[in-house]
């Protein structure tokens, strides 16, 4: 087992333990902190996949913005913080059955298929190539613009929905 594989296993363990903490913890605030742990683990996996830009974006957007947004929402609605709220609903046992069954099926299939991987070094200066691909008209310029329109719409929509009237 090489060093990279050990690092991979550690990062996966961080991600999955964080995710399990998110879905099992009764205190919602601790759930949000476990969510941060899980996001950091995913960012580490991105570094292992040599997608450095995505790793930094993961830290900035997920750890820096989305988690803070979730923690704000938890603190703004105070009854969430009360200890006696019930964490899971009546159908949790069926949800557990469905999730475990789905994972069993997925793992069974994933381990049987031989994936056509190509062993190649990661492209050099991938970050600058990505930046140029996002704004060059014959590649992903339209996608980039649609994403920015989506963000503006979400910003305005969130302000209007959450506004006190």
């Amino acid at each position: 087992m090489s060093l990279l594989q050990i690092v991979f296993i550690v990062l996966s363990a961080i991600t999955l333990i964080g995710a399990l903490g998110v879905v099992t913890n009764r205190n919602l605030f601790r759930c949000a902190l476990f969510l941060v742990l899980s996001f950091v683990g995913v960012a580490g996996l991105y570094v292992l996949l040599e997608a450095e830009f995505l790793a930094v974006v993961q830290i900035l957007v997920y750890v820096g913005a989305i988690s803070i947004l979730i923690i704000f929402a938890i603190m703004l609605s105070q009854r969430l913080m009360s200890p006696e709220f019930r964490a899971s609903n009546e159908q949790w046992i069926w949800a557990l059955v469905a999730a475990v069954a789905l994972f069993a099926i997925l793992a069974f299939i994933l381990l049987r298929v031989s994936w056509p991987t190509i062993s190649a070094p990661a492209p050099e200066n991938a970050i600058s190539a990505l930046g140029q691909a996002l704004v060059s008209p014959n590649q992903y310029l339209l996608v980039f613009e649609v994403a920015s329109v989506l963000l503006v719409v979400a910003l305005i929509g969130a302000v209007i929905i959450a506004r006190e009237r």
């Binding site: 995710a19 879905v23 949000a32 991105y46 979730i70 492209p123 990505l130 994403a147 969130a158």
Partner: protein, 105 residues
Amino acid sequence: MQIPLSWYLIVAAALFCIGLYGALSRRNAVGVLMGVELMLNSVNINLLAFWRQVEAASGTLAGQVFAIIVITVAAAEAAVGLALIISVYRSRKSVDVEDIDLMKL
């Protein structure tokens, strides 16, 4: 290639199923939203794993661009979803998904 592609796919599948369980079993709307975020993250792991081990040899970057778009949509979804939760809390004093049955007959 030191780490097999299937390892990434297994981890992503596990993360997706944990997120699915969270989204289905939580009573609290914020908890449901956290489960959805976990599922979106697992999709991104898959996209980047396939990009690195299948697409990177050809030098194109579609996998990374896909992942960026997924992150954008996740950010928009979190903003609008949490605004909805705040709004519902303000009018009904509860964010329990079983109490939010305004549109049921």
